[in-house]
Symmetry: C2
Subunit: 456 residues, 2 copies
């Protein structure tokens, strides 16, 4: 089934700015997930595409190699490069290509009810050999007499490399604090920076746990409006102590904060003295272009960067990181010691093993492909909202969202409205469709079940 590819260069945007190979990779990925390139379709040779795009052949070769490695493309002996059959989701496979044995896999979510929860990754996609290796390594490390409050020095070093490589963030170990995840990092920031009565901004709609963490610290939580692009800097009050934001992929609406807003945001923080807590939510799972650089890189003096393994790996691991100025990192570590808080050392050793071996990055690449497939299948539903990233999409409705949730439940699909993401009255009538914790075939069944509920 070889179809024409003559106009493929037209669907690729003009390529500007380095690195060209990643841009091309992302645009080809997007062409597949959006259905511009179909399974089985033959791609131009690297020579042809390079000539058409006016880029070096090395760029195209690198992009093809990446897409081969991720499974988007396949070679057929003697006949060129083809788009893999990526649309239908595969049964869950371990990294070795064998199905995950039932004896060690977690109980599958109830296959009768398809629960489309947001922010839950595919636990069954964790390669059992990788997991065993990581904990076997952790078991060889006898615990420290006096566990330090910063996290293991080796781990901070490896995390600095990981962030430099994966997110282009120039940090050294001194800028890093190992945390148990984003909410833990926010709690520690609050303990160090927020006095009772201080005003703290949270995106509206936004992450409910962030609001609760700030509320517990005695802060007055101030909802900050979000539109399709993310938080709106012009509307931010001038008296916030801290602002929690998700510029890579707004949670839950999915906007990707444009560069102009990012500049406005850091200027606002400089002018008002506020600290920005950047949750780099879903930066690892983009299916179109590479994520924008972290806000932290633009102005590390006013931004604190927060990352986690809760979405890339599992929330059951409970480990993440925070990047800030060395002085703030010291302050946070001292505050942590005062309450005898710590991140379990074996968990840190396991993460260290997964980072040092490249296992975690391989896992993220496999999951990126898996989620992109599920997303492509889900996009058959009309009216979906959100960036081409992450593990959920938002479906805006004309009829009341609660009615839709009830109708979906009757058809065996568990949904929730976006209401819980609002501190105030919800201004969007929408439901969340999460596809992280359900299989590809469940996604397709959900599409079939929900389609009759939607206008054509």
């Amino acid at each position: 089934m070889t179809t024409s590819h003559a106009d493929l260069p037209l669907v690729l945007d003009r390529l500007t700015g380095p690195p060209l190979a990643s841009q091309l990779t992302g645009q080809l990925r997007d062409a597949v997930t959006s259905g511009v390139l179909l399974a089985g379709e033959r791609l131009p040779s690297t020579r042809e595409l390079a000539a058409t795009l006016g880029v070096s052949r090395t760029v195209v070769t690198a992009a093809y190699a990446q897409l081969f490695a991720e499974g988007w493309l396949e070679g057929r002996h003697g006949s060129g490069t083809y788009v893999s059959d990526v649309a239908p989701a595969l049964p869950c496979l371990s990294a070795s290509g064998t199905p995950v044995p039932a004896s060690t896999s977690p109980p599958a979510p109830d296959s009768d009810l398809i629960e489309m929860r947001a922010g839950i990754p595919w636990a069954a996609g964790i390669d059992t050999a990788m997991w065993r290796r990581a904990w076997r390594h952790a078991g060889t490390r006898v615990p420290s007499f006096f566990p330090g409050p910063y996290g293991l020095p080796e781990l901070r070093g490896v995390l600095a490399d990981y962030l430099r490589r994966g997110r282009g963030i120039a940090v050294g170990p001194d800028h890093l604090l190992v945390t148990r995840g984003v909410a833990h990092g926010l709690a520690e920031l609050s303990a160090a920076l927020v006095e009772p009565g201080d005003r703290v901004g949270v995106e509206e709609p936004g992450y409910p746990s962030a609001r609760e963490v700030f509320r517990r610290a005695g802060a007055e939580v101030v909802p900050c409006r979000v539109d399709a692009d993310g938080v709106v800097p012009d509307e931010l009050p001038g008296d916030l102590r801290l602002l929690y934001t998700t510029p890579a992929h707004q949670y839950p609406l999915g906007g990707r904060l444009p560069v102009a807003r990012r500049q406005a945001l850091t200027s606002w923080a400089r002018a008002t003295g506020a600290v920005i807590a950047e949750d780099d939510y879903d930066s690892e799972f983009r299916y179109d272009v590479a994520p924008l650089p972290a806000l932290y890189s633009m102005d590390p003096e006013v931004v604190v960067y927060l990352g986690t393994t809760s979405k890339t790996l599992t929330p059951a691991l409970g480990v993440g990181w925070l990047a800030a100025s060395p002085a703030l990192v010291r302050l946070l570590a001292q505050a942590r010691e005062k309450v005898s808080d710590r991140v379990p050392e074996p968990v840190q050793h396991a993460l260290l093993a997964m980072l040092a071996s490249g296992d975690l990055e391989r896992h993220i690449r496999r999951m990126r492909l898996e989620y992109a497939r599920r997303r492509a299948a889900l996009m058959a539903l009309p009216g979906l909202r959100g960036d081409s990233a992450g593990m959920h999409v938002v479906l805006e409705l004309r009829r009341p969202a609660a009615d839709f949730v009830a109708g979906a439940a009757e058809r065996g699909v568990g949904l929730s409205t976006v209401d819980r993401f609002f501190a105030g009255d919800p201004v969007i009538n929408a439901v969340i469709l999460g596809y992280g914790a359900i299989s590809g075939s469940q996604v397709r069944r959900a599409v079939t079940a929900l389609s009759p509920l939607l206008p054509a």
Copy 2:
């Protein structure tokens, strides 16, 4: 070296109340650590001692068996039962009796400075085979899709057995919440029960992290006076929302709260509506008699019980538990979910493995013996204060404690005063001598170094 044992029964107190065997076990242990029974000394036969004490021979046989198992006694073929050579501390051995290999042991605390910190257990005493087994097991368990806020059900079941067996606490899994340790349990109690401005009592002197946890929750921390027996119930104010206390072994002074005070404490809580947070600190490490039953057992409706592996195993593990009414456990779990907090599942699986195999209890028994030996060696210093339990003693001084700390530092011994345990002005002039994180030979060197600083 067989010496007379004719008056051994005289040094044993009159035995009253069940279980007689544990009482006898404890008193014999005490006789060894206090030097009444010397290494190499022969004990009466079980028949003789039973007759002298007027107890059944089964009681004596059980006590001897326990002391054999713990290593206090040894048999010599055909010639009876002898006190082991327990006074000199052994070099650090793994459970298999072989020295811990340097490659896997943590960096030993600086052998030039003998740091006598309180509350730090002997990390080098962890049997490396046990540790490896536990994490290997954890690595075989793939994480849950939706980690629950209560902790793993299997772990809660095994913990209920452990608490019933070790502490006589009658709880089911529904009464238990897995925590990251005592401070974490207190933070969760605060989040659920304490409103900003509420008054929360903390023993004075007492655990500094508890004070900081309550302060962060917006509470007014009220110091509650402690004497040699522990907290003084008659002096407690009537308007506390919560009281934090350590009845098993007051931290740091070492009192063991007598039964009358325990009754007064629960009556006070019933009368005032306060909740008692019982930190069962050091109940595992008693070297004389068995610990008193937990306060929680006396009145589970007004007491919340808190336990941890931070002292029995290592603070680097970060796992503990909390026992309360099922309704309060539910409330705490719901509050935990709101901030996306959790205890890492692999850590729970590792603890489960160590509990289910009996490894943790074996480790505790070995450490009890090791700490008892160190304590016996340390008691050569005059003027030491504290119950025969735990991993530190308090040394009261006539001269300023800070001078003594400076003098000790000159002699290579790192000490701290009790000052940091006081919220207000310290009313005791004392230093803490911790022996958990130093070897037996370091204890003896510390005794030699400190003796010249003390009046004979």
